[in-house]
């Protein structure tokens, strides 16, 4: 293996400053695109991963007819069903919960109905032994998640909520007429949790009852009905008696619009989800973690395609300019190659030297491209940080990989011209002198 005079390579590049610079720019443009797109994809992938953790950490049950995307929430999930699901093989725990829209519907302002995932209150049963498997790993941007023992009036919010409502940490905010304190804001996940307000289940139930005239009156009747003794009840007409019986049976704790199911350790969550699906297909819809995970993976695959596309673009733009420059350099340096060969340089040595020169050009272009990319990313991220929507992730390992990539790109593009140089007939080179 020959050690090549790096100084000679740098001097050769310096002697042709203008052309070298042009080539470096050519590569830098490609590498710049690669850096920026890659950093964006890394960020998106990370966000998506956060959402995936939440979604795949539990089996979610909703009453038949629920359309998650359109936000048609509100149908009730009977407590009986939840209790029965609890008995299904492999199920560890089931908890009821309430999902309801954050804002009171405003029929006068249809614009308030937005596309995508609507702002949702997620009632969390903090006392249950049910655990979303990846719950603790949800990343918080600020503050913390609500937990058992917290007062009823604290909430944690998703990043989209924080952005849209301009709610900040420690803010006192009004939701459906009640005041809550924001104690945590989640990292962006590019999925459901971004539009969630995490609230204690008790508070959510109260808001839910408030929003539903039927339940509201039932609750009011219940207080009165409780004071009616069995003997008094027996003396009432049947219709009235039924109504009071219904009011007496009403329990706030039984109110659920959705259920979360966790599975026992070592059990395949997909099997559990399928079992629930089979047994309760007329009553509920089941969102299985694996299916949801696969959907999300499809989205990440898209992101990775973006990275790959960026890399290919960089490869194309960069290598053409390297190949062009190297061919020019080599035809200019025919004489030099002839001299070196007459001094006893092997073909290998000549080829290596030119490939290395191309590699140096690649690396310089890479450094420039990465430099400009990082600069842009930092500026953008700082700007976006104010709105809480940074879209780039600066990852040192990735940047290093890009730099190595640009070196390899230079070498690869330089190989053909380098071999051409090495194979040059010395006589021809010398006779041209």
């Amino acid at each position: 293996m020959y050690t090549h005079n790096m100084l000679e390579i740098l001097r050769n590049l310096w002697r042709r400053k203008f052309r070298t610079l042009l080539t470096i720019f050519g590569i830098a443009i490609g590498i710049f695109a690669f850096t920026v797109m890659g950093s964006m994809a890394l960020k998106l992938n990370k966000m998506i991963d956060g959402g995936k953790k939440y979604i795949t950490g539990q089996i979610t049950i909703a009453p038949k007819g629920t359309d998650f995307m359109m936000g048609q929430m509100g149908a009730m999930l009977p407590v009986d069903t939840l209790n029965k699901i609890d008995k299904v093989e492999g199920v560890e725990a089931v908890t009821g919960g309430i999902e309801m829209s954050l804002d009171e519907p405003n029929p006068d302002d249809p614009a308030s109905m937005s596309f995508g995932i609507p702002a949702t209150i997620e009632g969390m049963d903090l006392k249950t032994d049910f655990k979303n498997r990846n719950w603790e790993t949800m990343e918080m941007k600020e503050g913390r998640m609500i937990k058992e023992g917290d007062p009823d009036d604290v909430i944690a919010i998703g990043s989209t909520i924080a952005l849209d409502k301009k709610w900040k940490l420690d803010d006192k905010v009004k939701i459906r007429g009640r005041e809550f304190k924001v104690i945590g804001i989640l990292d962006k996940t590019m999925s459901g949790p971004d539009s969630y307000v995490f609230m204690s289940l008790d508070s959510t139930r109260e808001l839910y009852v408030e929003s539903n005239p039927f339940l509201k009156s039932l609750k009011e009747q219940q207080a009165q009905a409780a004071s009616i003794s069995v003997r008094e009840l027996a003396s009432l007409p049947k219709a009235t008696r039924d109504q009071i019986m219904q009011a007496k049976a009403f329990k706030m704790e039984d109110l659920s619009t959705m259920g979360s199911v966790s599975w026992k350790d070592g059990v395949n969550s997909e099997d559990v989800a399928n079992r629930i699906k089979d047994q309760f297909k007329d009553e509920v819809i089941v969102l299985s973690p694996k299916k949801m995970g696969e959907e999300i993976d499809k989205a990440s695959a898209m992101m990775n395609a973006v990275i790959l596309g960026g890399a290919l673009l960089a490869l194309l733009v960069g290598s053409f300019s390297v190949i062009n420059t190297m061919i020019m350099s080599i035809s200019e340096r025919t004489r030099e190659i002839g001299i070196k060969k007459s001094l006893g340089a092997s073909n290998r040595s000549i080829a290596l030297e030119y490939a290395l020169e191309a590699g140096v050009i690649g690396t310089l272009g890479g450094l420039l491209g990465i430099g400009i990319g990082v600069l842009l990313i930092v500026v953008f991220n700082n700007k976006m940080a104010e709105t809480g929507a940074e879209i780039f992730l600066l990852d040192f390992t990735f940047l290093l990989q890009v730099l190595i990539f640009s070196f390899v790109l230079g070498i690869v593009a330089g190989i053909m011209p380098a071999i051409k140089a090495a194979k040059m007939k010395v006589i021809k080179a010398i006779r041209e002198m």
């Binding site: 005079n5 006893g344 010398i430």
Partner: protein, 225 residues
């Protein structure tokens, strides 16, 4: 005396087209003894350079045998040729002999690298050689900062780097003025006298050729004397 070069019946043909065939060498015999200073003269196109390239292992004859420093080159592979070239042969060409990006010292050291010399040794020997050709004060100059005569001195120093069996100089003074030419030839003669360095020199100048050990005259690819 030992022969550094033993060539017999060397032929080289260039086929330009079916009808146009150039016999660049048409059966050349030549022996060069160790320590000799041999001059080759002859008109342009007589095959002098072709002969030098074959001796320098840069080209192969179509016919004939060649022994350099006791090694038969008949079935030499390209892969071995460059190593032998680095160790046995020193070249000085007509002009623009040096690598522009490298200083005088680095140009000389480069030959040491290809000759397999150790890094530490290279610099020391290169400086010695620069002293020998009287250019130690210019060792960090680039070729374009040196005169034509100085460049050829560096080229001669570089040719000496690996202590070659022979130095092949193909019209080394072709682009120099008369005075400088004579200085360069005198340097080579001095190296021949004092260090017994074997030289094979191609020249147009009969003055230069006159006091050489041997004069070989070429015409139409053949030796005429």
């Amino acid at each position: 005396m030992k022969n550094v070069i033993e060539a017999k019946g060397l032929k080289k043909i260039y086929k330009m087209s079916k009808t146009n065939i150039v016999h660049a060498l048409n059966g050349v015999d030549l022996n060069v003894e160790e320590g000799e200073f041999t001059a080759i003269i002859g008109p342009s196109g007589s095959g002098k350079s072709t002969l030098m390239h074959i001796f320098g292992l840069l080209d192969k004859p179509d016919e004939g045998t060649l022994i350099i420093d006791g090694i038969d080159m008949s079935d030499l592979k390209d892969k071995e040729a460059y190593k032998l070239r680095a160790k046995k042969i020193g070249f000085v060409f007509q002009g623009f002999n040096l690598i522009p990006a490298l200083s005088a010292l680095e140009n000389i050291m480069l030959a040491g690298k290809y000759g397999g010399m150790k890094m530490s040794e290279r610099k020391q020997r290169a400086i010695e050689l620069l002293k020998l050709v009287g250019l130690e004060s210019r060792m960090n100059h680039k070729p374009n900062e040196l005169s034509g005569g100085q460049q050829q001195r560096v080229a001669i120093a570089r040719a000496l780097m690996n202590k070659p069996a022979i130095i092949l100089a193909d019209e080394p003074t072709g682009e120099l003025d008369t005075k400088t030419s004579l200085e360069i030839i005198e340097l080579m003669k001095k190296l021949n006298r004092e260090d017994k360095q074997t030289f094979l020199l191609v020249t147009h100048n009969m003055e230069v050729a006159k006091d050489c050990n041997k004069i070989v005259e070429m015409r139409d690819g053949k030796r005429v004397s």
